[in-house]
Amino acid sequence: MNNMTTQKIKNDGDYSTIADLKQNAHKKEDIVPTTTSTLNLLCDVDTLRTLIKEDKVRIIDVRKKEDYLKDHIPTSVSLPLSDLLADDSPESIVKISNNLGISDNTPVVVYDDTFGALASRVAWSLKFIGHKNVSLLEVTYSSWKNLGLEVEEKSNNFVKSSHSIDIDYSIYADAVYVEDAQYDKSKVIIDSRERLNFLTEHIPNSKNIPYTMIRSEDSILRKPAELKRFMENRGIDFNSEIITYCGSVGTLSGLVFFALKTAGVPNVKLYPKSFKEWKSLGKPKTEFKDATYWDLSAE
């Protein structure tokens, strides 16, 4: 079953500490697939198919392992989101990347079947360890299949690579950081959960941009111009720093992270531990109890 595509990939070994990684980072050479061009944040179907043909991309399937085993986009590797979340320290992300054969220059495209939210969380993680060329597939796996595009059944494994580590703290926020940002006028905190959850409770002073708002019928993200208009309607200053969070592990907010990037907001951070951690730390929340809005839902 396992098809080792080893031809051009050089195995630099498995590194376990950041010190090691940094030391060895310069060693990497000739790691393919690589390309000189940087992918857009959103990778369209045609671009991906070309990249596959030219063997210039590493595709990550973040669905459950069993779904991957049934079929997947040709040449993709499997990384169920739960595997990444089991330990999402930078060291662990680097290790995972190496196991998937991703090195610094490998263009990576991530997809899921959950409207892009899980893929976003993985893509963000790669950016977090300093990977510069990662993109989200613009459609979900179901849409890919519905479009009648090619799939394959065989699992893919690639020779381990060696990814450097250059943690990008500019896209990361923790609870302490968010707490300070609440009263900082140059910072905006965005809650990415659905409206009724937001109304029920949220981080004080946060604004609600539900993940449902930023996607369109045929793409996991709306067009940049549309997203830009949404943010302008909201009076969001593109020079401010924006921090996104959601309910528990940074998936919905991961998607909103990429939506804001697509809209052209340069400075966006993700609070990956999100509201679940915030609550467990006993931090203050804003609740709205003056209306029984849940009773409007026909769910």
Binding site: E194, R195, L196, L199, N208, P210, T212, M213, E217, R229, F230, N233, R234, G235, F288, K289, D290, A291, T292, Y293, W294, D295, L296, S297, A298, E299
Partner: protein
């Protein structure tokens, strides 16, 4: 055994709405208005626009402030005549998901409402609406609200002609018309299909179609309306020919605009003007005004109305000749066993067009999820030859022109997404306004109460009992009557009261209200704590079943009691009150604090309201 008749008529009698699809006059939206709205919001947020001025503008564009939280809005989408296309439903589904709460809400005036939309996102909803030909313009504010039309219009066995196109022509003529941009208060037109179906006595202008000497026309009722003080409309004249429909409407609006009360917000609806002037005087002023209007209306103005009408009428003519039966037969059966038969019993009605059926989609107090809307849109495309649907004042959808052999398939598809419940338009599906779920004026959670009753009564199989089916329950969360509690068999409106040392939500119960041309307002019976409403209705039904002799339905029995003419032991409202008093008693707060709370919340009850923008 339920027998459905297959269609024996040529399908071009169905063309009415199909062809109307192509009518450019049915585009109600203007995309530029959304940009204008977005700019106004920005100015308001930057303190460059006075709050009152902004509020007026926002309301004129169909946008209310949400309950006790001005960051959010409710957008009321007008559905003129209740007529809506599958494309429009899909668009609303997407907008609800993107900007609202993933559910939309059918109102008692055939609007569709999106709740809890961030004020800054409202312009995007407006844009989406305009893209599919809809608008929320003048859905709120002091202007002409959604023009209602009986959802049976075009399929009703008793109608002299299809009034849908008249409703739309009126809607089209007055939308964005300078004549109604700043009325003393809101203004409502309701069209009926026949004297039985329609809310004509509780509108500013209610119209019942009729034919005299071969001429089409209307019996027009003026000055009705529900609210803190309700009135039944007065008949203007025996016959108003269709050629005078526009001038009569314009004259009414001009008189109201000129003489209506602009000072006292509690008395500024036209019904107060009629009441204060006295009907005779109002009528005389109006008829005189009509002559002036007719003498001064320019030909282009009149043509703009007639053109809309002519396009529709050419198509509708073929339909009017088919009238055969005198009543709309429910496909009733004594042998209700399967869920399908149960649904068929209450939700499917034979049309006057032989072999075609209309199907009610039962919602819970008007709520429908985006996914359900999408499936419903598919159902319309797949099963309705009309390729459209109607919203109903009972807060449901109505799909028409379905052939008998397709009905089982339609049911299967509806059931797959939770839309296959029986009991639409019966006592099982109470009407409930938004109440505390979103309305600033609400005192109680009328919305949830309606849903609670629905699930309880479905469980009790009340829809299977034809004696109960013709009764209705309607619930408002305050005296303002958006839930139309005054025209229900059993109506309720919310309030607050102190019981012992604790506050509790309480409903005032009314008996024997009705709609249609002979419609009347309900009579107040007594006050019932929110958590006793279900028990009280059950007790009423129990008493009815004990007393019932002859063929009286629950509705007829209640009507007799309301006028003091009950045939059994219970003769008057006082008699039934005695029976209900023990049921409404609450244990002490300490014993059972829950019975002092409203539905849908764990908190102790407090009556909180904010400045009303009137969600009616």
């Amino acid at each position: 055994m339920i027998v459905l008749v297959s269609p024996a008529v040529d399908s071009d009698v169905l063309s009415s709405s199909k062809k109307k699809n192509l009518n450019p006059d049915e585009n109600w939206g203007i995309v530029e208005e959304s940009e204008y709205f977005a700019n106004k919001v920005k100015l308001f947020r930057q303190d460059q626009l006075d709050a009152d001025e902004f509020r007026r503008f926002r309301l004129q564009n169909g946008t209310y402030g949400s309950r006790l939280n001005s960051d959010f809005s409710m957008i009321r989408i007008k559905v003129p005549g209740g007529d809506i296309s599958p494309e429009q439903m899909e668009k609303i589904a997407n907008l609800a998901e993107s900007f609202s709460i993933g559910s939309a809400h059918v109102s008692t005036r055939q609007n569709i409402q999106l709740h809890w939309v961030q004020l800054e996102d409202v312009s995007e909803v407006h844009r989406g609406l305009a893209e599919c030909g809809l608008t929320s313009r003048e859905a709120c504010g002091n202007t002409i609200r959604n023009v209602m039309c009986s959802h049976f219009a075009g399929v009703c066995s008793n109608e002299p002609f299809d009034t849908t196109i008249y409703a739309k022509a009126i809607a089209k003529f007055f939308l964005r018309n300078p004549i109604c941009q700043n009325l003393p208060r809101k203004f409502k037109f309701n069209f009926a299909c026949c004297s039985e179906h329609g809310y004509v006595r509780i509108a500013d202008v209610g119209l019942v179609p009729t034919i005299q000497d071969g001429l089409r026309g209307f019996r027009i009722y003026l000055g009705g309306g529900l609210g803190a003080a309700s009135f039944i409309g007065h008949l203007l004249e025996e016959f108003t020919p269709e050629s005078r429909l526009l001038s009569t409407s314009m004259a009414t609006i001009r008189v109201y605009d000129r003489l209506g009360n602009r000072e006292n917000p509690a008395r500024n609806r036209m019904r107060y003007l009629v009441n204060e002037m006295g009907w005779k005087k109002f009528q005389a002023v109006l008829l005189k005004e009509r002559d002036i209007v007719e003498a001064t209306t320019s030909i282009p103005t009149k043509n703009s109305f007639d053109n809309v009408l002519n396009i529709g009428n050419n198509i509708a003519n073929s339909l009017s000749t088919i009238s055969a039966k005198k009543i709309l037969p429910l496909i009733n059966t004594d042998n209700i066993q399967t869920p399908y038969e149960r649904w068929l019993n209450t939700n499917v009605i034979a049309q006057k067009q032989l072999g075609y059926y209309s199907v009610s989609i039962t919602l819970g107090a008007g709520d429908i999820t985006s996914n359900q809307l999408r499936v419903l849109a598919e159902c319309i495309r797949e099963f309705s030859e009309e390729q459209k649907a109607r919203t109903t004042p009972q807060q449901n959808f109505f799909i028409r022109y379905v052939q008998s052999d397709l009905i089982p398939k339609l049911f299967t598809k509806l059931s797959s997404i939770g839309l296959g419940n029986p009991g639409a338009n019966t006592i099982v599906s109470p009407v409930g306004c938004s109440g505390t779920t979103s309305c600033n004026l609400a005192i109680t959670n009328s919305h949830r109460l309606a849903k609670e009753i629905q699930s309880k009564f479905l469980e009790l199989n009340f829809d299977k009992d034809s004696d109960l089916c013709t009764s209705t329950i309607k619930i408002s969360g305050c005296p303002n009557s958006c839930g139309q509690h005054e025209v229900a068999t059993i109506g309720f409106y919310g309030g607050a009261t102190r019981i012992g040392n604790s506050m509790a939500p309480i409903y005032t119960m009314l008996f024997a209200g009705s709609t249609g041309e002979t419609g009347d307002l309900g009579k107040i019976v007594m006050r019932v704590p929110a958590k006793r409403v279900i028990d009280v209705v059950l007790k009423i039904i129990e008493s009815y079943r004990e007393e019932k002799n002859g063929n009286d339905t629950l509705h007829e029995w209640i009507h007799k009691i309301s006028i003091g003419k009950g045939d059994g032991k219970i003769k008057t409202l006082e008699d039934i009150k005695k029976i209900l008093v023990p049921v409404i008693k609450l244990p002490s707060f300490a014993e059972n604090p829950d019975s002092y709370k409203d539905y849908g919340t764990d908190s102790n009850f407090v009556a909180k309201t904010a400045r009303g923008e009137c969600a009616a």
